[in-house]
Amino acid sequence: MMDLIKLKSGDRRALSKTISMIESGEINSAIIKEKFPNIKTAEIWAITGSPGVGKSCICEYIIGDWLKNNQKIAVLAVDPSSPLSGGALLGDRIRINNSDNSDNIFFRSLATRGQSGAIPSNISDILDLLSALNFEKILIETVGAGQAEVRVAAVSQYLLLVEAPDSGDMLQAEKAGLMELADILLVNKSDLERANEKAEQLSLAFQLSSNHSPPILMVSAKQNSGFEELFLEMEKLSKSGKNHKIKSRISLSFAWENLLWNHKDVSKVLEKLESEQITLDEAINHLKEEL
């Protein structure tokens, strides 16, 4: 069971043990809400993008900037679980070196644990816990697995999307999805030749739709350039206090999915589906009835 006294005194081990209990389902959102009524939500940022675009390196810069202001920070770095073994290799700490050096930062790697999509389903409970323990800023780093990833928008307040030169042709920029939800678009590796071209493509894609155009910034994590501008934009957003749009729509679908995966009969129904004892329609009807 969670140790409230230790948790409130700032004991890191108690916090990390409690997160494990949330991950395993031992503690659910009802318990957290009961123990910590009136949670004031922390400022939650998510950073996402395709594998290899440089998310972790950019995180290191952002964390460095936040640490300057002496704020209490939590980082949740999400990596996928293997669909075959259920295991995971969590390697984001390698690139975020400043994470181990300050008492003001709590860094936790999370595996997706076999749920569909690219963030663990109980991440919102972990965010509630961190908020209740007075973490001021939370950064979620996650692999941009494509469309399903819009769910990071459901749990975060601000979304940074990282792109890199040569990551897909013009058509990729025209595709809908996460890009429409981004609050800031970053083109990393600006030291590479085709970075300008990439930024132009992105900007063109947004010019065609008039409703939303986030700032498009060029940075180079390798050369430490462009970050002052990023920090300014982030501060502007943070002061504006606005949520990114159509959030409620995604929140609803995310919550709905959580209901499904936490349904008491879900493994039974899956088993029957796999062995073809029931049809998909029958499965849905059964789950609906019991909801």
């Binding site: 081990r13 295991g87 995971a88 969590l90 390698i94 690139r95 181990d100």
Partner: protein
């Protein structure tokens, strides 16, 4: 898979070779565990911080630089000071036979050299977990002579 464990694989000190650590990390991942790899050249303090934040069950320390006699006992000492007595510590790399007894006496529960198979490692992890489940001492700060041969 019996139980999903959280295992840290760490490279303490000034040692730039991590092929072995990566192979071990990968083998443990394939055995169904959540493995956190720290990357190269970590200080004992950084490693202990990682163990705490990640709520690790096991800590694997890889050393090929010859500094194991200093770094490994130091890490165990810091773990105990941080109330992590129950974390199970094992080591790997180039650790001569003559140094092993001392490390075992400091709370290290297994030492794997070149040529170790992933089955041997799984067997160690299985035995250590069994001891833990039976409330027998096995953590780095728990008093016991037990170690894996």
């Amino acid at each position: 898979m019996d139980e999903r464990l959280r295992i840290i694989i760490a490279k303490p000190g000034l040692d730039g070779h991590d092929r072995g650590a990566k192979v071990v990390a990968r083998a443990l991942r394939d055995a169904g565990h959540e493995v956190i790899y720290t990357g190269l050249r970590r200080t004992p303090e950084e490693i202990v911080r990682t163990v705490i934040d990640e709520d690790a069950d096991f800590l694997g320390l890889s050393s090929l630089s010859g500094a194991h006699n200093f770094l490994i006992p130091k890490i165990v000492e810091l773990l105990v000071a941080s109330d992590c007595n129950d974390v199970i510590v094992f080591a790997g790399g180039i650790i001569p036979e003559k140094d092993r007894g001392n490390l075992f006496s400091k709370g290290v529960r297994a030492i794997f050299g070149p040529g170790t198979s992933s089955t041997q490692m799984s067997d160690f992890i299985g035995s250590a977990v069994k001891r833990r489940d039976e409330s027998l001492p096995v953590g780095c700060g728990e008093d016991s002579d037990w170690h894996w041969d």
